[in-house]
Amino acid sequence: MFGKSRLGGFLAGASGLFLLLPLVAVIPFSFTAKRFLSMPDGEYSLRHYVAIFDPDTWLASIGTSTLVALLSSVIATALAAAFGIGIWLRRPASGRFLIGLVLLPIIVPPVTSAVALYFLLAQIGLLDTVPGLVLSHVVMIVPFAVIAILGALSRLDRNLELAARNLGASQMQSIIMVILPNIRFGLFAAWFVSLVMSWEESSVTLFVSGVNVITLPKRIWDNLRLDLDPAVAAISVIMILATTLVILLRKSET
């Protein structure tokens, strides 16, 4: 179709390179011996990696981000599972509308969501608190969890549920003993996607936290703007490696 797909091959290669080059290009910056962000001048150092282990700054932020990501991903997965199963069981006439409503946070531009959540959290006094941040993240990541779970449910045989009910299980029993075990991979996928989405959420996070609660993206942001700390490069390298490792592990599992 595209001239024996030579153009396709070239563009695929170019896109791949374009997408990956920056991720690799960060690496040398992280080994600079200087105090400011620059290419190493023949002198390499691990000092910026050591700096990450400062319990008052980087380590604290990693802890905050992890806590927020764990809490919000578990909540989002539970909400999404209940919602998905509800839609699957009842197949309401308004199903498309309800799904559309739950997917709203994907449609609304992130910066608009950020402003809207800022106003709400300011109103209820949760601005710049961990609960406020967790709530914001749950709203932002629930759509992704719902998509993963609806996908898993669409592959589930409806007769399974009917069989369970036919054998005397209550609605609750059939959900817990039949439906949930059969979408466990979907549940895991939903949780994983939520975790990653929450971990990397920056647009809303930068708005609704920052003084008392400092997540990792927020600290990176501040460091980049204020003093160009090469620790940003070091933490980037670590996060890129961690992400790659997790994807590889997941790939080898499936």
């Binding site: 563009l11 946070p105 490069a233």
Partner: protein
């Protein structure tokens, strides 16, 4: 339905149980997405407080401010295009980014989808790594590439093509590149899955009916893939038009987009109503584009 006699055995009526499953999520969305947007809409018609926040006085000043400048002395309004230019620039940047992503992604996704499974998985892996890496870190990473001492400039200087580093960062070009870089996977992946589902016998049928490659591509491939193309375009356009990170980091804060303008209202400028009004405008633009594209997709299904 046949489930009716069975439902009698459970203590909670099925209707109530199902509603109980749906409501937590709907409640979260209503309370933390719909309600905040309503608050935002309300705030956009108020006046800013002296130290941030709002004062409860109805005013359309926030919206007027986008088009006019109010004179301090006589309160008269004069038209100023400054903010309008920022809105237009955001639309332009997002449109260019979306179109370029489309042009790059169609052949790329086609190529990947037509590889053997093993090769395909490697390609998908390469495309998905950036998809998973934090957007902020990716944007910073791109900055490292474009910097004066980054690999592109170093390589070009080493080879002797240029003497001075090219100004690749902190300009409009860098923002465009940043948007494409940020959201390209959002275009490639839906197009890839559209090509995966594409029935290539349709192409054979077109050739069989005397279509040239070009005609077959425009009259068969693109129309059949339209839902994928529209999904990809939305996934790139929506985050692009309100993008905050790319203009700030790669544009060096000099070339503003609407996202940055909104951000400023909550930092230095401390003008909540204006920020709310700008957000409403951004949301409206997004919804217009969304419904326009969705209708085009639906029309496709009708005719």
């Amino acid at each position: 339905m046949s489930a009716r006699p069975l439902a009698l055995s459970s203590r909670i009526p099925a209707r109530v149980a199902h509603a109980g499953l749906l409501w937590p999520s709907l409640g979260v969305i209503l309370a933390f997405m719909v309600a905040p947007i309503a608050i935002m809409l309300t705030y956009s018609f108020l006046v800013p407080g002296a130290y941030g926040g709002v004062e409860w006085t109805f005013s359309t000043a926030a919206y007027e401010q986008i088009l006019f400048e109010r004179d301090f002395l006589d309160d008269s309004l004069t038209f100023t295009p400054d903010y309008l230019i920022i809105v237009a620039r955001s639309l332009l940047q997002a449109t260019v980014a979306t179109l370029l992503c489309l042009v790059i992604s169609v052949p790329t996704a086609y190529y990947i989808a037509t590889r053997p499974d093993r090769v395909k998985n490697i390609w998908l892996f390469l495309i998905t790594i950036p998809y998973w890496v934090n957007l902020l870190i990716r944007t910073i990473a791109l900055l490292f590439v474009l910097r004066d001492d980054g690999p592109i400039n170093s390589a070009l200087i080493d080879v002797g093509v240029i003497g001075q580093p090219l100004a690749l960062s902190y300009n409009g070009f860098a923002i465009s590149l940043g948007l494409i870089y940020s959201f390209l996977p959002f275009m490639v992946l839906p197009l890839y899955s559209a090509f995966e589902r594409f029935d290539f016998r349709l192409l054979e049928a077109a050739y069989d009916l005397y279509a040239s490659r070009r005609v077959a591509f425009f009259r068969i491939v693109l129309p059949v893939m339209r839902p994928g193309l529209i999904a990809g375009s939305l996934l790139v356009f929506i985050p692009s038009v309100g993008s905050y990170l790319a203009p700030d980091i790669l544009g060096g804060g000099k070339t503003l987009m609407i996202g940055n303008l909104i951000g400023t209202q909550f930092q230095a400028a401390r003008n909540w109503p204006f920020g709310a009004a700008l957000s409403m405008i951004l949301l409206t633009i997004t919804l217009i584009v969304l419904f326009w594209l969705a209708r085009r997709a639906a029309q496709q299904q009708m005719n």
